[in-house]
Amino acid sequence: MNVNLKIILFLGMMLSAGAAFAGSTLSIRLVEASNAGQGMGTGLGDVAHLLQNNLPYKTFQLLASRSMSLPASSAASLSAGIVARCSGGQDNMHVILERGGKKIMQTTVELRDGTPLIIGGISSGQGKLIVVLLAK
């Protein structure tokens, strides 16, 4: 085999190995943020610092958690009437948030492995509802 061809194949394998580490699962969590009390609920350890450092709330409680395989093409029914409809791969993912069958917002994102996307501000009785999307 030509030596140059071997080098090209080797470099190609290195690059494809990196691509192979792309996430295969999308996790969707619904969190309620409020100032009633103080603390971080279970199941939020990986996003605790991100939530506490960027949002003016003291209490974060996990209300629901769902997951789907990537590329996504399904809806996750969470809690408090919130439904997250996700479609597409990580590079171009469409997310639609609905509440009570009514579309609240939609976004298109490039989701990175292990770096969460937090969409918040949905009103709740006690505080705000937050949707946390994470590909891993």
């Binding site: 991100l50 298109t108 994102v109 490039e110 969460p116 996307l117 949905i122 009103s123």
Partner: protein, 123 residues
């Protein structure tokens, strides 16, 4: 016919500088070396490493340089390591949208203020 003694023959050969007879082993080795000069000979190291060209010193430097350049070109900026918002539409009444990118705790926050989502509350 003049027949000299062996001593006279030896002395005559020395005078003529006639090369001594080669042994069979020496003859074979010299012939082998002579033939070998006409054929490209690979060293043992070359032969052993030829199946994996990257380990060959001739290709280590170019391959390392290519990897370095590829790494520099493809290395993402800090903001590229977090989720990017390509588009966003909010259908419910709201005041503003804030997008925060946290590079320290990698993540992206989309916050919609005063969002009325249908439950009668807004804030």
């Amino acid at each position: 016919m003049n027949k000299g003694t062996w001593l006279e023959i030896e002395a005559g050969l020395i005078r003529r500088k006639t090369p001594a007879m080669r042994s069979a082993v020496e003859s074979f080795q010299q012939d082998f070396k002579a033939r070998a000069t006409f054929i490209r000979q690979e060293t043992v190291a070359e032969t052993a490493l030829s199946w994996f060209p990257v380990l060959n010193w001739r290709y280590v430097v170019p391959a390392a340089a290519a990897l370095l350049i590829a790494g520099l070109v493809m290395w993402p900026s800090p903001t590229a390591l977090v989720t990017q918002i390509k588009s966003l539409q909010v259908f419910s009444p709201h005041s503003s949208v804030i997008i925060m990118v946290d590079e320290k705790e990698p993540g992206t926050v989309v916050w919609v203020t005063d969002l009325e989502s249908g439950d009668g509350n807004a804030g």
